[in-house]
Symmetry: C2
Subunit: 341 residues, 2 copies
Amino acid sequence: MMATGAARPRRATIHDVAAEAGLSRGTVSRVINGERYVSDDARVAVEAAIAKVGYVRNTAARNLKTQQSHAIGLIVHEPHSLFLEDPVIGAILLGTNAILSEADYQLVSLVIDSDRDSDRVAEYLSGGFVDGVIIISARSGDPIAHAVVRLGIPAAFVGHPPDIDGIPFIGIDNFAGAKAITERLLATGRRRVGMIASALDRDSGQDRLAGFRAALGDAFDSNLVVDYPLYSHGTGLSGMRELLSRAPDIDGVFAASDSIAAGALDGLREAGRRVPDDVGIVGFDDSAWALRCQPTLSTVRQPADALGRLAAERVLSQLRGEQVPESGTLLPTSIVWRDSA
Amino acid sequence: MMATGAARPRRATIHDVAAEAGLSRGTVSRVINGERYVSDDARVAVEAAIAKVGYVRNTAARNLKTQQSHAIGLIVHEPHSLFLEDPVIGAILLGTNAILSEADYQLVSLVIDSDRDSDRVAEYLSGGFVDGVIIISARSGDPIAHAVVRLGIPAAFVGHPPDIDGIPFIGIDNFAGAKAITERLLATGRRRVGMIASALDRDSGQDRLAGFRAALGDAFDSNLVVDYPLYSHGTGLSGMRELLSRAPDIDGVFAASDSIAAGALDGLREAGRRVPDDVGIVGFDDSAWALRCQPTLSTVRQPADALGRLAAERVLSQLRGEQVPESGTLLPTSIVWRDSA
DNA sequence: GCCCAGTCTGGGAACGTTCACAGATATACA
DNA sequence: TGTATATCTGTGAACGTTCCCAGACTGGGC
């Protein structure tokens, strides 16, 4: 048996619509694109004809003529495994997609894992396959980000790589969020509070550490801070072990992400410490981890969907030739208090 | 300050390459598409010219002329929230993407949440934006799946909706996997074993239940089976409570997914039962949940990446006009034994 | 009655590619 | 040598759209 698709019927073109409506190509095109100078009679006739012949615009022809792709690239610079696990990235993606599809743009996701991918993506960008890009979690010295600047492609960052200017960015106020939750943790009466930091090559990592430091003020003790490259469960586990060995009397921990907090919880369990009785622990992100943990995590909620939406809007307005603030926008976070502290 | 991109330079076309190489359009096109009847001299000259002028093929023009989109749709029929949380879907996506980008096809993800989306996607498909589709987790009576059959679009299912024929499918052997892990659970000496089933409107849900039943044989007791629509943590929690109330002496549980198992663990914890001492519990998927749970889950591993790859290959071979087995392919699973049973 | 501005419509040309065809050259066989 | 066949190359036409220009018609102001 075979299962090759039956020959699909020829699709209706703008010419079919024009013939059906008794008008010309030009007029049909004007109706489709909502331009001025179309009589009501013509508009009605064209719309009826479109419905009758089942016309759908041929994107390839439009793209060819207008020299645009009507696609926006979403560049995610994370290992594939993290892309799978990190619901924040997924939520950003969904928010972006919602805005773009409203504006008749297609979202193209590009996940960069290895450096080999990085070259491939840079080539892709110069190929004109996308009209603009949204870049998530770029790092310092990111080759893609620099390629985007060089090519002059309309772009927006989610998060802000410290070494690149001239591209608007959307972020959350990591500093304020970290400061607020650390203060809240201190308010529960903790005396020896440490932090498991991460991703210090990115603004998010740096700012969360800075917020933690600001909250502690004079009580800050650099000996109670450990850092690892990845926001991951493994980071939390190793970090917690290290903190416990450095300071067995530790009674509070700010983990730079929920996944790290989850790992830290396992580290505490392993050491026989009770949470929150012996040690209070707080995370960051309010991801799916937070509710899954035992006990559930007190954490900082970030508006991931809004980040994606706003970034998409920034790129679209550049495409429309509008002025875009070159500086960035920081969205506020909120604290979700549960059982872990 | 403004941040509109600088005017991008005109892209090189096939004409530029032809002029640079001192050959014609046609020959350049033949080299690009790897056709026969090109002399070695010409090939070398064209390749050098392409590199020199930095030529990248204009997809829109190609798509217009060939009447193809060179895109494959990945239709995910799940709520957005599940799309974010389910790493199996993510892994399928990555596998699919790997194969498609090798073959110079673009992956377009379409997430169907509401029925409104369903209409939108059906319209999208008839618009010729994709040359083929891969459909994940279709249900019985799925309107999209039926639209695909009606339109004759080359397609492949991941998983098999019970009521649709004529489209090849790739699945895992849910029956064998469920049977094997249930037998393994029984081998630990459990006497009263129940199941929290789910998604009985899909083959995966049905087959896992059937495998469980087959493993138990005469010992099967329908009173020890509960079912809920969603593979989720909530299902596991509610299901475990229900099972405990029906059979307080239950000592083993097969959860139809890891997320359900995680919920069941919380249900057992709530009731003061120890795992695995009092109750042994096993899951299905070997997703990120499995390692996160306390204790870590014994579960069935499914080759999600391979599922995605194989589905992509099935669609591509249909596109090449090759014969495709109309029946499906079931990939084997393996058991990962950890601490929960 | 004339002119100008505003409104509306039609059709040529172009976007960059692939495909089919025709012509040119080389190779093989009788 | 002639003829058939295989290999290689160039060119016109087409894919379906948008943009631009030219022209037709309308109405208002003089």
